[in-house]
Amino acid sequence: MTNWKCLACEYVYDPQVGDPESDIEPGTEFEDLPDDWVCPECGVGKGEFEPE
């Protein structure tokens, strides 16, 4: 599983943790996140993320 990092604020999406506050289960790969998922820290979209 690959971590992805937000280029705007450096929040790291860890697939093993997911994003439970946005109903994203642990184990969800970044590529499988919905298109409208946004960074929980700063609100930018998936397009602003890079693999770590």
Partner: protein, 412 residues
């Protein structure tokens, strides 16, 4: 002979050398009826540090205040906690004037300063927990991304127990009083609330983390030297406590009714809804948009448990002022709010459904279907509006029972 502008002593090593903006009435869409101040600070130790600067037109005022303490050319270290131009604008001039040994910012701050100001010179990136010596005192840095920009950081002076908290705990208030305990408490709390609501509300999670770190500072912090408004130096627990509550965004029994109106019909509906809210035990804050700025609405929404939004329909769409405030509120991400949409209309009536959808996108739990009436609402229609108010009040009583939260502002 004393100069026109003088510094104000804050602690053993710290002087306020900022500028008071008495005339400002709008800060990028945030209405500032009481003006503001841009706070810059000198730390005078074996070496001299300047922490942040002021908005461009006030440069000479800041330099004059610095000069009342030390020759500006003697500044050895410049710290930029925040690249936003109300704090960074004078950095290039100060770098030119003082030729400091070191210019310090966060890693993202280095980029931000170059891209805002074309700042030349070596800016050093500091990391979370770094300390820099000024000889007999140290400055310590903590990164606070998204409070409220990606590059934001705060600086601590442990010897004096002064936290240069940047925009945190700040408020827009122009005053001759430099310290919050010297200013009318009602004014201080209103402006502190307004500031949190409009600038920090979307970053509530980060605020909660910052508060944890502030509570753990050793030695314990005694002064919050903010970048705007009067400085906190007494009873810090009160403002830190408020920030903690606001970051949790627990709903209170306050309901905000925001609307605009073309011929008074939507206004009548708003009034009837308010009667129902009040009869049901809620505290109602009714805000006609003709008389309220978006930033005043946000201030009331911060502690609200309910948000009801009314609009006429004009050319098949939401009345523009209502769309304005909804766009603004959406960005502020208020949490744990129930609500409903309402409005009078002539033939299309699309606005009310559009509001309902926007409220949904804001994660507001709609507790009733949108309420619309054609042209001028009659007695039955207004009675139904009153019932909507009562229903919302009943839901509020339910959700506030456990937390027994009462709003600090509004509802008058």
């Amino acid at each position: 002979m004393a100069g026109v502008f003088e510094a104000v002593r804050v602690s053993e090593h710290v002087y306020w050398v900022g500028a008071i903006d008495w005339a400002l009435r709008d800060f990028h869409g945030y209405s500032t009826a009481r003006g503001t101040s841009y706070n810059a600070y000198l730390v005078v130790a074996d070496k001299i540090a300047l922490i942040d600067t002021v908005r461009a037109p006030f440069r000479d005022e800041m330099i004059a205040r610095i000069r009342s303490v030390v020759q500006p050319e003697r500044i050895d270290v410049i710290v930029s906690n925040h690249a936003e131009m109300d704090h960074s604008a004078c950095l290039p001039h100060m770098v030119e004037l003082a030729r400091p040994e070191r210019i310090l910012a966060s890693a993202k701050g280095v980029d931000a300063l170059r891209q805002h100001l074309r700042l030349d010179g070596d800016i050093e990136a500091v990391k979370d927990g770094d300390r820099v010596s000024l000889g007999d005192v140290d400055l310590a840095f903590a990164m606070t991304p998204m409070l409220h920009w990606p590059e934001s950081m705060v600086t601590y002076l442990p010897t004096d127990r002064v936290l240069f908290s940047q925009d945190g705990f700040g408020m827009h208030l122009a005053s001759g009083q430099r310290f919050a305990d010297e200013v009318d408490a009602d004014v201080v709390w209103y402006e502190t609330t307004k500031y949190f609501a409009n600038i920090l509300m979307p970053f509530s999670r980060q605020v909660a983390k910052l508060i944890e770190r502030v509570r753990q500072l050793q030695p314990a912090v005694e002064v919050l030297a903010t970048d705007h408004g009067p400085i906190w130096r007494k009873d810090l627990r009160a403002v830190i406590g408020r920030y903690t509550e606001w970051a949790e965004q627990k709903p209170t029994n306050k309901a905000v009714v925001v609307y605009d109106t073309m011929w008074g019909s939507t206004a009548k509906m708003a009034g009837a809804i308010a009667e129902g809210l009040i009869a049901g035990g809620a505290r109602a804050k009714v805000m006609p948009l003709a008389g309220s700025s978006r930033s005043d609405v946000a201030t009331e929404v911060l502690e609200a448990g309910a948000l009801l939004v009314g609009s006429p329909t004009i050319n098949n769409n939401i009345f523009p002022t209502v769309a304005d405030v909804l766009t603004y509120l959406k960005g502020l991400k208020p949490q744990n709010i129930i609500g409903a949409a309402f409005g009078s209309y002539g033939w299309g009536g699309e606005a009310v459904k559009q509001i309902d959808e926007l409220l949904g996108a804001m994660k507001v739990e709609r507790v009733a279907e949108p309420v619309r009436y054609k042209y001028v609402p009659d007695e039955d229609a207004l009675s139904a509006c009153r019932s909507l108010g009562s229903a919302v009040a009943a839901r509020l009583t339910q959700s506030c029972e456990t937390s027994s939260q009462v709003s600090h502002t509004g509802g008058q």
